[in-house]
Symmetry: C2
Subunit: 210 residues, 2 copies
DNA sequence: GACACGCTTCGTCGGCTCACGAAACGTCCC
DNA sequence: GGGACGTTTCGTGAGCCGACGAAGCGTGTC
């Protein structure tokens, strides 16, 4: 259920129960514990109980645990499940930023262009800030919650890092808004649009033919 | 046992069993699982089995979980336990860097002096690199393992961040070597020496009278 | 108002987890 | 070699965990 919630959206208790393959009553208990423990936040609307990860910290913890546990279980199963997981490996959202091969390639490209620096921790360079401004993205500064502006997040299909933090989230938002990418019917899956491929090639030298 | 191992040193299986208050046979099983899971690394020497956290990533995960679970349990108990935990709250090591009020104050001072920047993630500034060189600390660059040079680590007594990463570790090493601080007889406890207090005041304007 | 629906509460039960002690093994030190 | 010591293996047992279904509650819909 926590993995399902990594898509960053709020799910109802019933959806999570179905996703996990357990009875609704079972889900109620577990979700209650997770809320009590501060990992999930809930919002009640009518007869629905919406649940989401309580914040980036919680998402980070789930990512970390998932990375260690190895989500290798996803790669086996029915044909349908396998092809779905292949699509997810290609491009997906991870909480509120991009993941999968696309996410990893994006961070690589940003580093190659000198927009993000990996030498001393992960940091946004001066050109990087300009590049974001050019795109119309307001460069976020560190806020109350102390969420890092740029952060590395371990990608558990690629086993390499992709870009998280407020910049990762803002970039993902922007790409969705400008229709460089779009969501498919499946929860966390992402598809790069024609326009997105062009923009990424021009702005970052990123070739997505693979 | 994981919390005990956060002191960054290797413990024997028996020590960990005693620390956790379980039978040696019980500890054997659990430690075996943790090693299999990749969280701990082991090293056998004669009849001893030494265990340590497998790396900074593992330490980070334990820190994160401990922070969420709230180590509030430590603050109650016998008088002896309470005074021990007070000493730990004052200054201790966390894996391989400094924690407790000292650790938090150190990071604050570094930021105030402009040696570390909190605005865009956490990063080491140009003056910060010079400051380290002046101390005789070679400024670490990002290495194979991709361990961040500077990283924020949530301090679970102070509920604020202290400095981790390779610089946090190097600084802690240096302070021990130069006897600015020294270990006490208790596992993770640290005491600031006279000399250390002087140096910290002069170099960082850090006053430790509290 | 009746009904469908989503969620929750409660009671129950199987099974797994985790603890222990006894015994064995290997190492180190007389 | 003998004995102390640290660790491991194995068997056993208590207890908790986590699952379910039935029943109940509140909300939305016809």
């Amino acid at each position: 259920m926590c993995l399902a919630l990594l898509d960053g959206r709020a799910w109802t208790a019933g959806e999570l129960a179905r996703a996990a393959g357990v009875a609704p009553s079972t889900a109620t208990v577990h979700l209650g514990l997770l809320v009590d423990g501060g990992l999930l936040a809930e919002e009640r609307q009518g007869r629905h109980r919406y649940l989401r990860l309580s914040g980036p910290g919680a998402a980070g913890l789930v990512e970390d645990l998932a990375g260690r546990a190895g989500a290798g279980t996803l790669t086996s199963g029915s044909l349908r499940a396998v092809s779905a997981s292949r699509a997810l490996a290609r491009a997906r959202t991870c909480y509120d930023h991009l993941a999968g091969r696309l996410g990893v390639a994006l961070l690589d490209a940003l580093c190659r262009k000198g927009l993000v620096d990996r030498q001393v921790g992960l940091s946004l360079t001066e050109p990087g800030m300009e590049w974001l401004t050019d795109l119309g993205i307001e460069v976020p500064t560190v806020q109350r919650t102390r969420r890092p502006v740029v952060r590395e997040c371990l990608d558990w299909t690629e086993r390499r890092h992709h870009l998280a933090g407020t910049v990762g989230a803002a970039l993902c938002d922007h790409m969705l808004e400008q229709r460089w990418i779009e969501r498919t019917s499946r929860p966390r899956e992402i598809r790069v649009t024609e326009r997105g491929a062009d923009e990424l090639r021009q702005r970052l030298g990123l070739d997505l033919t693979s």
